[in-house]
Symmetry: C2
Subunit: 489 residues, 2 copies
């Protein structure tokens, strides 16, 4: 065994254990009896402790120093293993444990504060989380900014500067489009009640339509939809609401985008550092192109309208065109996760700017609610009337996720780039989508993006696919064309 072989064998076991930890997380949200929460906390902590010990194992450093990659793929393995190892070894064990402890408490306090609409109750623990993440960033950043050091964990190679420039270029076009669309008459939405078991059956059918492999996955109900796992065991969850059938359908298509990315990674990379999606941004590009550019397209919604009519009867809209308009209704709202394609990225930009300021120390945590509400009013034109619709709406900051939010919009930007290239390479796509046939699109995405796993860096894989560096322009062109036509503006 060479040092390279030793390293990959060690990594294989680490990845297998990380899969086990992921499966526990899935279980917690879907199957676990409620009385098991406290014990499960200890089980998770024990798994994290095992994983931390493996990730900081001094032998990994020795193997990394000695390993000779046999080829370019081998070099990519080393790159990914080194990135995680350097980060893990730079964070003192005391700090890592304190972050785990405090974020666990903070998540509970956040949930309580949100339920009681009391942001003041949450701010002290949030201040502690911010301080700990600043300390962690200082430990790992080298000559990078604190924020870039944190961002790198979710989007390797990205910086606040490049992302910020992209967002600055995107923003005026979104604001202008928003103004125009909100000046027009909104289309009617769906009406009626929709049996939730029928919804579950339909989500399974639609997951299969989008290529989800049920022999290596399953769909269950959970409070929040998510995708979990890699390789041969990638599970998704969905939610159902009797009054609102589009939620179960589009959250399922979104999660199937995440899940098929994982299912379609080259099996040669299974249980290795390359055996999963390369970044949060590229992951979100897959979920968003499935959900929006494909799932909310005029062509696909014409098929979906027919299928929903067969399952549920009258939907309260006259025809496929009315259904397409209902699926793409633009409405101002407080909540990011409920936002339409025009508003969504404005919600993200607000968070990106505020969290950069928090981590840089330019915004005090105690001033966060005011800063949020002021910015929200400036961007959306309405006053935030309660914290659960303002700075308490997302779980992310409570669990220490700073640097994560921008990957949502980065994913949309990447999806815009990929969609233009897809339309260029697969010109007859709409005819297939109108038959409920997504195979042309997903074969292309598997070939260009998904099968590579983490073999290439995020921007590399997008640039190689699209023939150009990623840019916000395709997303903006897509949104302007789609919503301009829909709203006649």
């Amino acid at each position: 065994m060479t040092a390279f072989d030793d390293l990959l064998a060690h990594q294989r076991e680490t990845v297998a254990l990380a899969q086990v930890a992921g499966r526990l997380g899935w279980d917690q949200e879907t199957m676990m009896p409620r009385g098991a929460a406290e014990q499960r906390g200890e089980e998770m902590a024990a798994m994290e402790s095992v994983l931390h010990a493996r990730r900081t194992d001094p032998r990994v450093g020795e193997w990394l120093a000695a390993a000779q990659p046999p080829d370019e793929t081998g070099a990519a393995h080393l790159r990914e293993i080194r990135r995680v190892w350097e980060r893990a070894t730079k964070v003192p064990a005391r700090l890592a444990a304190e972050i785990a402890r405090v974020t666990s408490v903070a998540q509970g306090q956040w949930a309580e504060a949100r339920a009681s609409e009391d942001s003041a109750a949450f701010l002290p623990v949030l201040a502690r989380v911010v301080a700990l993440r600043q300390e962690e960033a200082d430990a790992i950043r080298g000559d990078r900014s604190r924020y870039d050091a944190l961002l790198d964990d979710y989007e390797p190679g990205a910086t606040a500067e490049t992302i910020g420039a992209m967002f600055d270029a995107l923003r005026p076009g979104l604001v202008a489009l928003r103004e125009k669309v909100l000046g027009a008459t909104p289309p009617p939405g769906l009406t009626g009640r929709y049996d939730v078991e029928d919804q579950m059956a339909l989500t399974r059918e639609i997951a299969a339509v989008f290529g989800y492999d049920f022999t290596r996955g399953r769909i269950d109900r959970a409070v929040h939809p998510f995708s979990s796992g890699s390789g041969a065991d990638v599970r998704i969850t969905t939610r159902t609401s009797e009054a609102e059938p589009l939620g179960s359908i589009y959250s399922t298509i979104h999660e199937v985008g995440h899940a098929t990315y994982e299912q379609n990674v080259d099996p040669a990379y299974a249980l290795s550092a390359l055996g999963q999606g390369v970044s949060m941004g590229v992951h979100e590009s897959q979920s968003r192109i499935y959900e929006n550019q494909l799932g909310r397209s005029r062509a696909f919604t014409s098929w979906l309208f027919g299928r929903m009519g067969e399952v549920f009867g009258d939907l309260g809209v006259a025809d496929a065109e009315g259904f397409y308009a209902a699926v793409n209704r633009v409405e101002p709202g407080y909540i990011r996760t409920e936002a339409d394609e025009v508003h969504y990225n404005l919600h993200v930009m607000l968070r990106f700017d505020l969290e950069r300021a928090l981590i840089a120390g330019d915004l005090a945590v105690e001033d966060l609610p005011g800063a949020w509400n002021e910015r929200f009013h400036a961007d959306f034109g309405v006053e935030v009337d309660r914290p659960s619709r303002g700075c308490l709406q997302d779980v992310h900051w409570s669990v220490g996720l700073f640097g994560y939010f921008p990957t949502y919009t980065l994913g949309n930007v990447y999806a815009g780039c990929l969609h233009e290239a897809l339309r260029r390479d697969v010109p007859d796509l709409d005819a297939a989508l109108a038959r409920g046939d997504t195979s042309g699109a997903r074969d292309w995405l598997r070939e260009k993006v998904q099968r590579h796993g983490a073999r290439y860096q995020p921007r590399e894989v997008i640039a190689a696919t699209c023939g150009a560096e990623p840019s916000e322009a395709p997303l903006l062109r897509y949104l302007e064309a789609k919503f301009g036509a829909l709203y006649g503006v």
Copy 2:
């Protein structure tokens, strides 16, 4: 931190990780998509490797040498931790890995051989399993016999000699009872078809009747019923058959016996060496007393007859007395897991004798099928007509479980002892059971047995409860009285 504190903290994390491994096993039998089997194998192996490293950690030996238990309970912690540590450290890592590898292969070959009724295809790998377990026994046995060394893992403190003496005393009475009962006319069984969803709903109701705490557990379907987990997360499975509703009900009551033992352990022992059932025999005593002495009693079946009539309508038997007889039908059969109370222990004794001979080297593996069939004919009076009804029927030996089988009958013996003591202490039990009220029995079992977890040695807890050393006599008295009356013999 003293050495004792360090040891218990280490043990707590080990137990938490063992819970995680157990949860994976549950997932595999209930939820896992079938395409995930190979990846799951690597995940399980990685968890086993982590657990093995913790169990053989040299620090455990140092702590054990230095630890001063603060009290008798502390001494019990040390006793349990030392037992596992001594065993784990005496088995060479190479041998432990080889056993894991070979039994994994052997289980697959057993399943194939059973499906194709080809015992010759299984014998070579079984010979390898036997040889490895002999080698393991030699590594750990000290001055004990090989078989006793293996047995100790499932039933601490038991020996083949004491168990054999008990079985020898039990056997003639069982054989005589069997002869008498089989000479009488058998009662009719249930007829009809039983909706499986209604069966699942009824198993949930009956699990609650027997005290299963759903806030710390759940019931799912699986091919083989089992109970899994400890403390705050103890899950059970059941199976349903449209033609045979008693299977789902009595396998559920059986598993609830196992599960409530785990759920009712003193919370002070959670995630410690004392936080689970003390032995397989005591475990089986709980499942069997729930299933048989309580669940198949005249009093309880009179309630169950009424409840099943409400759910399913006509059961094909005239009255509660006919139902009681149908539930307790005695029939000769090939399969241990389907055997009635009269036959069951004869199946176990056959295996006990054969596996002792295999491990001692007195019976060659190649001679096993012949020896099985000869013994079966002698004990049951019929020829084994195919291997799946003979020596291939149980999974145990393929996965290396030698020394496990006798704990089934030991459990029945313990259940007999406990049942006599229960009837003495709770004289009005039948009136409650006839109302579907099991609380008197289960409160007594929780108080006397279940809450102690592994605090006391197996025989200690039975003897303290019953006021006498465990003996086969109460079981025999119970069986003779029950089946004598039922069959008028």
